[in-house]
Symmetry: C2
Subunit: 354 residues, 2 copies
């Protein structure tokens, strides 16, 4: 049995007893019942995920996975491919958006090369970097499959390994983020294929295409979807034909997190596409997923609707990297602190509702 | 000239030069332009408020103002009046929702007795408590004005004093929150009167009224609005006839913050009603206000629409105390860190858009 099957088999349902206890405790805290709304709901779910009715979120991790995409040759991105490795260096040096927001919430960022199209010059001693390169970017999916079936498997497995290795350093919650010039394109392909929505509806401007660029992107996507005919029953085949290495890696992180009862906060559209792949592999992951924000990118709502998730907030963000996940993790942490730290009516000597 | 007029006269427009510099800097940071959406917008506004194009949010303060309401005698609240002083003790002991969330974001809570209907037993040495009591709860506004015109003036002035005194301890941003059994009722009265919306539309269940309770509350509100006829041109008269001491105090905090170029984050419905009073006194405060969340309480949207604010998030909260403001402050802080700490394309050696 391979690591993917192992992870899937380990995913259990939520701990109902822990959820009942958490809910009962919320109702004794010094506030009108339900008055903290979604914060109360999340805290109860984290109890169900962790099996602890007063969960403690300390170690926060964001995995930011990078990969390149052959379809960029067709002009589907406003930025050149060279940005991907330079942004990886930026992550390692702490200068990117995700670094700032991770510091803000007290999380550590783990940067993973899943498939950057060049050799990265990174010192072996760099603590926050993991080399899981499956290939030098995917192939151009308008001309054939993005990757082999074997590499699709490997990319998901690599994500599982990253998550399990990082657990050793402490992990109460994990956020998944991405970096990869062109990666909204495979994400739109995956979203259109899995949700059944028309390509036009789930394709956006990515880093900033103009109208003509968007039209071209949709055309190339349609071409790729006609040429590649993934099996609707095999998510790994979908990933292989129209996906990306970092998307596979993030799907692996999600599966592994769910299998180890670790809450996993998804970011925006690209990590959402990874969640779709993971959801096709095992719908049980849904219980472990928290959608942070609603991305500006056109297809994100279709992903959330397909899985049945509601995002915590919408700040018109579309950066990726895990930036939305970082803010989402802070809200989840706040929800658990409410559950743990608030005084009860009895403790505070406050009269309860008449 | 009294303190209220002084504060109003000191309120300037935003610093356009600082905003232009902040916007220009945002566009050099290593992300597609605009990809951090509202975070970018807020950071630019904080630059305009503070006059600093790279604003630094360190000292965070939440003022939680408490008061009681005579109209509670008419059965408009699901909780008894005795809850107000007990919750003040809870704030001081650090056990309430606002304490937990303030700790989470690294803010200090300043608890203010604006008009609790009993003598509080609080040690003089309690650092985070300010006694600004204007009276022992308001009068029952179904039988006359809630307070005298003089007390309405005093309550706003007291809020100004609280803000200005607390500035000495460091204050880069302030959140306004409330506590007061029954205080959604004067807030609905103020909202209906100022926005012109029907009472039914801006009256909610507060801490948890049932259908019959809500019907009674609406009836009492209509009675109060017929009996009291505030001058539409005089916000202090509105506060006196149908307001509350803590609402006046919060209006004072808002005016003073704006007059000292300190960003002020409003919480939900009751602090929103205070913002309405402050807005009637000086529409210029709008530039200094950030709406944190959209409250479940029915009238909150009408307040935001009247002033022209968009909330940052909606987590179905309705606790008050400043809990939504706390989460909002954390987002504002994150936005300023993005502006200050992210590497530029040049610094990171990342190629910009083609």
């Amino acid at each position: 049995m391979d690591r993917i099957e192992e992870a899937i088999e380990r995913i259990e349902s939520l701990d109902e007893a822990a959820m009942d206890s958490a809910k009962a405790r919320q109702d004794t805290l010094t506030k009108p019942r339900g008055s903290l709304g979604v914060l109360e709901d999340i805290s109860v779910r984290i109890a169900g995920i962790t099996g602890d009715y007063m969960p403690d979120i300390n170690d926060k991790v964001i995995t930011t996975m990078a990969g390149d995409h052959g379809i960029v040759d067709e002009g589907v991105s406003a930025y050149p491919k060279e940005v991907t490795p330079q942004m990886v260096y930026n992550f390692i040096n702490g200068g990117a958006g995700i670094n700032v927001l991770a510091r803000h919430i007290g999380a550590r960022v783990v940067v993973v090369d899943m498939g950057v199209a060049s050799d990265l010059e990174i010192k072996h001693s760099t603590e926050n970097f993991i080399d899981s390169k499956i290939g030098y970017g995917t192939a151009n999916m308008t001309k054939g499959a993005a990757m082999t079936y074997e590499d699709a498997n490997k990319s998901i497995e690599a994500g599982i390994v990253v998550l399990e290795d990082e657990m050793a350093n402490g992990m109460d919650i994990v956020g998944v983020g991405d970096m990869g010039i062109g990666n909204t394109t495979p994400s739109s392909a995956i979203t259109a294929f899995i949700t059944g929505e028309p390509v036009e509806k789930v394709t956006g401007r990515g880093t900033g295409l103009d109208d003509e660029g968007l039209r071209m992107k949709i055309e190339q996507l349609k071409k790729a979807l006609v040429l590649n005919t993934p099996s609707r029953e095999d998510a790994i085949d979908i990933l292989a034909k129209i996906g990306g290495f970092e998307i596979g890696g993030m799907a692996g992180v999600i599966l592994a997190a769910a299998s180890h009862r670790i809450p996993v906060v998804v970011d925006g559209f690209i990590s959402g596409a990874a969640a779709l792949i993971a959801y096709e592999l095992s719908p049980r992951i849904k219980d472990y997923l928290i959608a942070s924000h609603l991305s500006v990118e056109a297809g994100h709502r279709a992903i959330l609707n397909h899985i049945g998730l509601e995002p915590l907030f919408n700040l018109n963000m579309r950066l990726g990297e895990g930036t939305g996940a970082a803010l989402g993790i802070s809200i989840v942490e706040a929800s658990c602190k409410i559950l743990r730290e608030m005084a009860t009516f009895e403790e505070a000597g406050v009269p309860d509702k008449e």
